[in-house]
Symmetry: C2
Subunit: 192 residues, 2 copies
DNA sequence: GAATTCTATTATCAAATGATAAAACATTAT
DNA sequence: ATAATGTTTTATCATTTGATAATAGAATTC
């Protein structure tokens, strides 16, 4: 798994082997069984996560207690950084493994030290947040201007094969429809 | 208007008069006529904005060219900070005045200098982004779990009187429905 | 202030989505 | 293996939302 982490760091423009080595020394690799919660809404959590394999989702509980998925993380994604997913130190959503998964975990404080001494990590942080937020705003527009069917097609473009990996419930709630409607859309799209 | 700015800065926990004075010296007050674009999607913009009076909205163009409002800023809000609304230096949404409005404008570089020398401005920046993102994620859940009618009621709680200030078009697109459906909901809710 | 343009409402019908329940399939535990 | 549990599909009917068009109302321009 350390090779996978190394590859992911390269992909993220941490180009110098020394920087990657530094990161690997202070990060820990964690295997997560399916449906394991990494952190939950309202609790503190002082780590950053790099997803090395598997699928995670973030979710919140609606007023009626229903579990609402607001985003997916597929292999080699970076989980929304700590500063952007907490309010007064408490998580504003929960993060859960939807399949068996492997993550690299690093304490926020440790990564901050890396940032202070190493420009590659500073740039990397800014890039992550830019991509995360631009995707968030993109879906804000999609959500408001497209039908459920169109939203499903767009989701399929972003995460091919997601439907074969995770419970359909999570996809339906991400799309903002019931799982019965979701099943109907799948049927409609398959016969065409 | 400088008193309003001063009040807003106090509200934002810039407590020392010297800090507020510093801010006021480098910020400029701008009056914006209704429907003026402050910046548009895809363009660069190197300023931060504090809304002192009026209503702004952020919007994107959908694939079919339709204008989609993804959020409102009402009096004394802080506009989403530069780093969180740009990708590679380009704006990821447009910002427009929906009514006559007044903003305090400050160059990103100038505010960064303030941050480096003054802890109040650093804390302030972090607080703004936390509130912005937690609201964003809150609406992500609302959007996926509530009917259009419920979404309207929630919007009314957040921005009382908004319907009397801005074009209904912008509210309808924020809610993700047509303006005809919006008008129908208004009628339903008024007769009950 | 009349004319023009833009915005909001109302009505009608069509299409999309939700609610419920039953059946088919998969997974997990015993 | 069997039972038990959870997930996905299918069917039916109800409700919500969209599309279109006509009208009414406001704001803007001349």
């Amino acid at each position: 798994m350390l090779e996978e982490l190394d590859a992911k760091l390269s992909e993220l423009n941490i180009l110098s082997p020394q920087s990657r080595q530094l990161f690997k020394e202070i990060a820990t690799i964690k295997k997560l069984p399916k449906s394991k919660n990494i952190f939950v809404e309202g609790d503190g959590n002082a780590h950053e996560y790099l997803l090395l394999s598997g699928v995670l989702h973030r979710y919140n509980l609606a007023d009626d207690g229903q579990l609402i998925t607001t985003g997916f993380y597929m292999t080699k994604a970076v989980v929304t950084p700590h500063f952007a997913r907490t309010k007064n130190g408490k998580s504003i959503f929960s993060l859960q493994a939807l399949t068996n998964a492997v993550v690299a975990e690093i304490a926020v404080a440790d990564l901050n030290l890396l940032r202070q001494t190493n420009n590659e990590f500073r740039v990397f942080g800014q890039k992550i947040i830019e991509e995360e937020l631009s995707k968030l705003f993109y879906f804000e527009t999609v959500y408001r201007s497209c039908s459920a069917k169109e939203r499903l097609l767009i989701l399929r473009n972003h995460f091919p094969n997601l439907e074969n990996l995770v419970p359909h419930n999570s996809i339906a709630s991400f799309l903002g429809i019931t799982n019965v409607s979701f099943s109907r859309l799948r049927h409609e799209l398959s016969v065409k």
